[in-house]
């Protein structure tokens, strides 16, 4: 049994005021250091002894990491922007709709005030609500260290359950989402037992529409495999076709077959496969309507 009332682990706590200072700390302490932002993931991990760092490097004093701006290349959200601010930013344009849906679905006010978008991504939970939307919206993340920075597709960043392509000396600085295009729509939905619970299954779709024809689409599901998954079979099935109910049902069957769910405390494999088809159809419909100019 873990006593969740207290933190028994001992560590030093560092509050760098700049990225340069943070890089120095990471260089000095290496694997003994753990980066912390809002703490909604890291503090429970400390309580349950999933991690045992000797040094916590807190990023929340580095103000540039919370910046949010929009330019012709899309939306740039600082990795330490609070989830509530990231949600507000995603309301700026129809191109970010799926991520807006996902952040709205987290909902719980306290977590929106504490948690950060970068934290949600770096934890890399298979059930992270922000990942499927970023997968379908061609999201990218920038990682930096003392030598420089690199930008990765979100698909290449998440490498497994709770695993990301990030070196111990790197810090995520920014999340980028390209601007939406005309006749493009996206949406996200999840299934959870109660409103503030972890997802049993989540689905995001982005679709490019030309009247009744689906020019192209991207489909991603969360909590149905060791990591959030693109369902490329279903994407190819729909790409370039005139949409009708039969085709959508075929795509839904392909989604259901394409996931790799497990049975766990939240749901059974069978249920997840069945509900995946239903939720996919609902999400596709929402994205399709939005691509037609409706919200």
């Amino acid at each position: 049994m873990v006593n969740t009332k207290i933190l028994t682990q001992e560590f030093d706590y560092h509050r760098p005021a700049s990225l340069a200072e943070a890089f120095e700390l990471l260089a000095e302490y290496g694997d003994a250091a753990k980066v912390i932002a809002g703490g909604t993931d890291v503090v429970p991990q400390l309580k349950y002894e999933k991690i045992a760092p000797n040094h916590l490097v807190a990023l929340m004093k580095i103000s540039e990491l919370s910046d949010i701006n929009e330019d012709s290349n899309g939306l740039n959200i600082g990795a330490c922007a609070r989830l509530r601010d990231a949600k507000q930013a995603c309301a700026r344009g129809p191109g970010y709709a799926a991520l807006h849906d996902a952040l709205r679905s987290i909902g719980k006010v306290q977590v929106m005030n504490m948690g950060t978008l970068g934290g949600n991504l770096c934890t890399a939970s298979p059930a992270a609500d922000s990942v499927p939307p970023l997968l379908v919206l061609n999201g990218r993340v920038t990682l930096a260290n003392a030598e420089g920075s690199r930008t990765l597709e979100i698909e290449d960043f998440i490498t497994g359950p709770y695993a990301a392509a990030m070196a111990a000396n790197e810090i995520m600085t920014e999340i980028h989402i390209p601007p939406g295009q005309e006749h493009q729509g996206s949406a996200f939905l999840k299934i959870a037992r109660v409103a503030a619970d972890i997802s049993k299954l989540s689905c995001a779709v982005a679709v490019q529409r030309d009247a009744e024809r689906c020019v192209s689409c991207r489909i991603a599901l969360g909590a149905v495999a060791p990591l959030p998954l693109r369902i490329k079979g279903a994407e190819e099935l729909l790409g370039g076709k005139k949409m009708d109910a039969t085709l959508l049902a075929e795509a839904a069957a392909s989604v259901s077959a394409g996931i790799r769910p497990i049975s766990d405390v939240r749901s059974t494999e069978t249920y997840r496969r069945q509900v995946a088809a239903v939720i996919f159809k609902d999400v596709f419909d929402m994205a399709w309507q939005r691509a037609g100019g409706k919200s």
Binding site: K5, L7, E10, Y13, M114
Partner: protein
């Protein structure tokens, strides 16, 4: 483990502490300040019982390191009533509506209600339920809590 100095305002009062890095805000409030209205429920950020307002925004004090709120303005349930003991209208509403059974979730609920009414003086029932969805109550079925908040809606 290197102790660090922090200062903050708690319910309007300036305070200074020398804390160990693994001190949680919840325990600083409960043990150091004897402000035991802030409740330990799950300790993992699921129940909302430890909710306090940090710089006017609700956060979970069981997942907040004391060092992370250095310099902040903290409001706990003890700071909601006026210094002379006059209850806040939302506290009166909880009493009038009998929105309390065991009372364990009440501090968190009252703070969430205050936060909501600060931002939106006339919330709809849906907005009220949405706002308190991170706060669990195992007695009332939420109905009277929602009623109490609704009765303060202008």
């Amino acid at each position: 483990m290197q102790k660090q100095h922090i200062q903050m305002r708690i319910n309007g009062e300036p305070c200074e502490f020398l804390v160990e890095p693994n001190t949680l805000l919840m325990n600083l409030l409960r043990s150091e300040m004897e402000l035991t209205g802030t409740k330990y429920g799950c300790g993992t950020g699921q129940c909302g019982g430890c909710t306090v307002l940090v710089n006017g925004e609700p956060v979970l004090s069981c997942l907040t390191l004391a060092l992370a709120v250095d310099g902040a303005d903290i409001l706990t349930i003890e700071g909601v009533a006026a210094p002379d003991g006059t209850l806040d209208p939302i506290q009166e509403a909880f009493l009038d509506t009998a929105a309390i059974q065991c009372g364990y979730c009440t501090p968190g609920m009252v703070l969430m209600a205050k936060d909501l009414l600060n931002k939106n003086p006339s919330p709809s029932e849906d907005q009220i339920r949405e706002h308190i969805k991170g706060n669990l109550c195992r007695c009332t079925g939420y109905h009277r809590i929602v009623q109490a908040i609704k009765s303060c809606s202008k």
